[in-house]
Amino acid sequence: MPNPIANPQYLIAMNAPIIAIDRVTKTYDSGGGTVTALHDVSFSIQAGEFIALIGPSGCGKSTLMRLVGDLDQPSAGSIQVKGKPPRQARLDRDYGIVFQSPVLYDWRTVRKNVELPLEIMGRTEPARQERSRAMLQLVGLQDFGEAYPWQLSGGMQQRVSIARALSFDPALLLMDEPFGALDEITRERMQAELLLICGDAGADTTVIFVTHSIPEAVFLADRVVVMSPRPGRIERVVDIDLPRPRDIATRESPRYFELVTEVRESLRES
């Protein structure tokens, strides 16, 4: 790693946010009038941070994630991702996206699903295979590469979806309620796995994680962004100072409960 003091330009790069959201507004035309999904939202995210967006339905948390990922465009304001407009970041393949449903391709085996982005990005066959093997190992599905998605449980399918999003090593991981459709037990296990993969030690992946669940947001994130509806805006940002790596003991610590309460109360105010 270059020495930041010897290389001033590197120092600047380190301090610049990886995502800078500047006075962003998003309105939709719906039938007669316009709906304001987001109103004048500003926020910045540092590289390697795990950010949870939480709020009631209609607060614009998914919209905000989609604007960052260039799945939609803001009506006003600007977004910079790694110093670029989101569109350029998308073309540079900086985003790995995980939706609530795993959206796997039925006609591809698990391994081929993980390799899909690599195929599109023109990687060679050996490189793809090596990468998919490593990714499947990472999510604990190394024995299921030749299975078809329908042969897996919901939790396993979502693991494949995460492996696919990480397969091309994107700088940013955008997750839109990825565990929302799972049962509570599977959900807690998946949260712990997600932290092992990209939340705890040595993580250089920046994660934006949209969720409805307060405990999930507090357990995973470095900062929880509490949003409120009509119009969608940021109500509060709660710093989560729980030590990492986080595990079951974290969930039982007094500080964890304090933070959950804090987030809950900010949500109530919103």
Partner: protein, 281 residues
């Protein structure tokens, strides 16, 4: 990597990976057992009714009589059958091929789809075979071209509609995923839309296999070569040679079923992953 398989044994047990269903033919035979039994029973009943009640020949010949007529000239029946089958196949290839092609163009140009698709759905209600005499005038009532034309028109619309539905079936999420990979249009079409459309395509091909035999034979009723199955069926009926007439119908049934089965077999080969072939979880 750093962590071991994070699955519980429970999870391993509930999923059957890798070991794909192996009892392909067994499953096939067991699902065919009942229908075959019902078919045999029907034939036996038919034979019994015709003999027991002395049904006159012009109303209904016995299956044994039909089979007798069939085996008097199986080679000839097969020959005229294959001639008609050839017309059906040519029309099928043209109609289904053009239908799939136009569907693909419709996906690229949504405005075209908006104009064409509702109209094509409506054309389902039109008895296209009624156009046969006209196509006879346009393309020659004796020539196979008029039969091929009828079949091509009959199979074009169902293929267009089904394939268009299939190509547009991927959910917004899957398309956005492709967008996030900065995928080219070509990749989106080849790696997403086309595989997603395969079940719809095969559905259309199965419908069109039956339609094309119907179209070819019925349009031969309005005129055609002496060596055609539809002409044979119609002329034998006119001569009241009803066993021979029925033996022609039997050949038409056999060819129709074989055509359908060939497509069903191709379907299994091309998309072994599909839902309808899954038996256990």
């Amino acid at each position: 990597m750093k962590d071991e398989a994070l699955l519980t044994n429970d999870e391993r047990r509930t999923t059957k990976a890798a070991s794909a269903p192996s009892s392909f033919f067994l499953g096939l035979s067991s699902s065919w057992l009942l229908p075959s039994l019902a078919f045999c029973l029907m034939i036996v009943l038919w034979e019994a009714v015709v003999r027991g009640f002395n049904v006159p020949l012009y109303l209904l010949p016995a299956p044994s009589g039909i089979l007798g007529a069939f085996f008097q000239q199986p080679g000839y029946l097969l020959q005229i059958g294959l001639f008609t089958f050839g017309e059906a196949l040519a029309g099928f290839a043209i109609g289904c091929g053009l239908g799939a092609l136009v569907a693909a163009i419709c996906v690229r140009f949504p405005l075209l789809a908006e104009g064409l698709v509702p109209f094509s759905v409506g054309s389902n209600a039109v008895p296209i075979v009624a156009l046969s005499p006209l196509l006879g005038i346009w393309l020659g009532s004796i020539s196979p071209a008029s039969k091929i034309g009828v079949v091509a028109i009959m199979t074009f619309f169902p293929t267009l509609i089904n394939v268009y539905r299939g190509l547009t079936s991927p959910s917004p999420d899957t398309l956005q995923l492709m967008r996030s990979y900065a995928a080219r249009q070509r990749d989106i079409f080849l790696k997403l839309r086309l595989p997603a459309a395969l079940p719809y395509l095969f559905n259309a091909l199965k419908i069109c296999a039956s339609l094309s035999m119907i179209g070819a034979i019925v349009s031969e009723f309005f005129g055609g070569r002496q060596s055609a199955l539809g002409v044979y069926i119609k002329s034998q009926a006119g001569l009241l040679r009803l066993r021979e007439c029925w033996s022609g119908i039997l050949m038409a049934c056999i060819l129709g079923i074989v055509f359908y089965l060939l497509i069903a077999a191709a379907e299994r080969l091309v998309m072994p992953w599909h839902m309808s072939f899954r038996r256990e979880r």
